[in-house]
């Protein structure tokens, strides 16, 4: 009869294994549960391994005490300590996690600051570059202005030289070129070759400076009657105008006036002075064409 043994054997095994596992002790079971939970938490195992080891050691003692049948008080005491040690391990892990995040955060903050400073530095560099560029442009402008000024100076000095060649004199009315009586045929409105030469120089000047205009004024001395003097002065002024037009100067740049014996430059008391008064004056306008008529 082997059958009963087959039935009994598992029962015996079950009974024995039941004996081998710990009979229920509430606080010891709680300590085990708590420990098992902590042991599966990688945060705790990595950051609080020493604290967890303490709990594990105490738990082993509690198990041993329980196995040896020591007093309930002893088992409970060790279970309680193991349970609290698990909690210490948890708190330690929490603390270290936060401390790490503090360390990381301050590193991150340094990084953010560094990035900001770099941006500021770049911006400052950029500003410096802009300032440098502006300075360069200004320097170039200054050089150009200086070159222009030099150029202007050259033009002015050239002009001055040309005016000097024209025997132009600075008067209250502006620059005045006088064509003396000797350059006209006696008592006539015909320019002699010398007079034509003077007019040519003037026309060259006017050609070069197209904004200038001229006022041509004829004068005589006080001999002879006023009407013929007036006519002669006008005709001589016109003669100069004609010569300028012949040289290619537009007629609208030329004004003429005859003043007869008026506005003498010398007293008509001798022939030399009278000769001075017989003249044609050419008044140059300013560079914008403005001219003052008597």
């Amino acid at each position: 009869m082997k059958k009963p043994y087959i039935i009994i054997a598992p029962l015996v095994i079950a009974l024995l294994s039941g004996c081998a596992t710990h009979p229920i002790n509430q606080s010891l079971a709680e300590a085990h549960n708590s420990y098992n939970t902590a042991r599966t938490n990688p945060q705790i195992t990595s950051l609080a391994s020493l604290e967890l080891k303490d709990a594990s050691d105490t738990l082993s003692k509690a198990d041993a005490a329980f196995d040896k049948g020591e007093s309930l008080a002893t088992v409970n005491q060790l279970s309680y300590i193991a349970y609290q040690q698990v909690r210490i391990a948890q708190e330690t892990a929490f603390r270290k996690t936060d401390e790490q995040s503090v360390a990381n955060a301050s590193a991150k903050r340094d990084q953010v600051r560094l990035a900001a400073r770099t941006a500021e530095a770049d911006s400052a560099k950029h500003e410096v570059a802009i300032i440098q560029e502006t300075a360069n442009i200004q320097a170039a402008e200054l050089a150009a202005a200086s070159a222009n000024a030099e150029h202007d100076q050259q033009i002015i000095s050239k002009q001055e030289k040309q005016l000097k060649e024209l025997n132009a004199k600075q008067t209250k009315r502006g620059l005045v070129i006088t064509i003396g009586d000797v350059l006209f045929s006696s008592s006539k409105a015909e320019l002699k070759s010398g007079g034509i030469h003077n007019v040519r120089k003037l026309s060259t000047f006017l050609d070069e400076y197209p904004k200038y205009r001229v006022l041509i004024e004829g004068y005589t001395d006080n001999t002879g009657n006023d009407d013929s003097n007036q006519t002669l002065s006008e005709q001589r002024a016109d003669a100069v105008k004609t010569a300028l037009i012949d040289s290619g100067i537009a007629s609208d740049r030329i004004l003429t006036r005859g003043y007869g014996k008026e506005f003498p430059v010398a007293r008509n008391n001798n022939s030399s002075n009278r000769q001075q008064n017989r003249r044609v004056e050419i008044v140059l306008s300013d560079e914008n064409g403005n001219i003052s008529v008597r």
């Binding site: 008080a73 040690q85 330690t92 603390r95 936060d98 503090v102 953010v112 900001a116």
Partner: protein, 129 residues
Amino acid sequence: MPNISPLKPYQLHIISVFMATSIFFSGCATTPPPVELIAVSRAAVNDANLAGANELAPVQFKSAVEKIDGAEVAMVKKDYALARQLAEQAQVDAKLATAMARSAKARKAADAVQEDSRVLSQEIGRKTK
């Protein structure tokens, strides 16, 4: 004059054996006073207090204080077993209170730093705009 007879040698022997036995047994029955343990536990409670556990882990701290006080009362009453039990619990409670106080501080520091970082990022973001 009454005769006070000296004890006979065998009587002495019996008495001495009895006394030795009684001393032996009493020694076995009582736990030696856990003076060192009490001192260590008291120090752990003081550490917890210094760590700010009084405010940051009040429940655990109070438990530790009550237990170490209880252990000292038990010492006076010569209940050394109770003194040892309470002192051991006081020590582990105090350590837990310390750990909780320190983790609470770390939590606060982490929160503060995170807030700082947020404000800083915001400020820098505004500046570069």
